[in-house]
Symmetry: C2
Subunit: 185 residues, 2 copies
């Protein structure tokens, strides 16, 4: 299967949306293949040509999302850490169903958020060390990082919870304005 084929991309996305939707009000265990293909409007056989079962679909979803986020964050060209959130917010906005699932899905160990945090923190420290031309970070810096990252993530989390009713631009602006109010260590 060529994963760059439009048809493949579309069915994958349709199935992911269907699962994300289903998981908002149902445990992963209780979701059937039938149900998913109905929602996604694809043939059942097509499902099996991509995934072994519902769990398989979920695992690939989570894995893909983490890869995507990691890529976005590491590809960050300018190296300004505000841009990290720009990429993240864009991706979330383009994949609302997936995001809702990863942040609020039922019956999941929410290690995804920890993963997310780790990736971002790593980038923060990398940028800081580069900017300040130092080889290690102080304990104070780590606390600052936690404070700021978790704060921003909770803003994004709330945004998703509110079904993106706040305009994307406003969220970005918000995070930027918080940054501006900061005196970097």
């Amino acid at each position: 299967m060529n994963k760059h084929d439009r048809r493949v991309k579309k069915t994958i996305k349709a199935l992911q949306s269907a699962l994300a939707d289903a998981m908002l009000d149902k445990e992963l265990q209780k979701i059937t293949v039938q149900e998913l293909v109905n929602k996604a409007d694809i043939h059942r056989a097509t499902f099996y040509s991509h995934y072994h079962d519902v769990y398989d679909l979920y695992e690939q979803m989570e894995h893909d999302a983490i890869s995507e986020f990691t890529k976005f964050i590491n590809d960050n060209p300018a190296g300004h850490y505000e841009n990290i959130y720009n990429s993240i917010i864009d991706y979330i906005y383009e994949n609302p169903a997936l995001s809702r699932l990863l942040f609020f899905g039922k019956g999941i160990d929410h290690k995804f958020q920890e993963h997310m945090y780790d990736i971002i923190e790593e980038k923060y420290l990398e940028i800081w060390m580069q900017e300040e031309n130092i080889s290690s970070v102080s304990e104070e810096m780590l606390y600052m990082a936690t404070y700021h990252i978790q704060g921003c993530l909770s803003i994004i989390s709330l945004w998703i919870k509110n079904n993106f009713s706040t305009p994307k631009e406003k969220i970005i602006q918000l995070i930027y304005s918080i940054d501006a109010r900061w005196n970097m260590p």
Copy 2:
């Protein structure tokens, strides 16, 4: 081409959405096939296997929509005319892009709305004549029909203009409550 094939339905819908989207800020004349297939994320050759050009797509869209509405209205089982709006609102909600186009698209003679009005009025009169067991309608009734139909259509129109920010149920409730406040002739 079997128009009941899922793939066909999906590409048709994707192209319709793309055109509807494009027409909101561009004249029909200025829209290219290229642009549409990019938006719809389908191959250009696929476009030509369905339509001759952009105008062809538009005409079929309008025609299909009118057919759909007519069908909904005439299939109305109970014969209660409030249900007409139920069907219409459902359809609009399921086809937001198409609806925006038909109500607010640029560079179109908005004969669609007149068409819509005619279909609804016909149904109204049919129901009334049946209920009252009469063979013709009074002039007064025609005025009442105009008043009520155009009023309801303008509510729906505003709803679309507001990007469906008002919940669907509330719109239906609104129209029902208006009905309840009426003393039928």
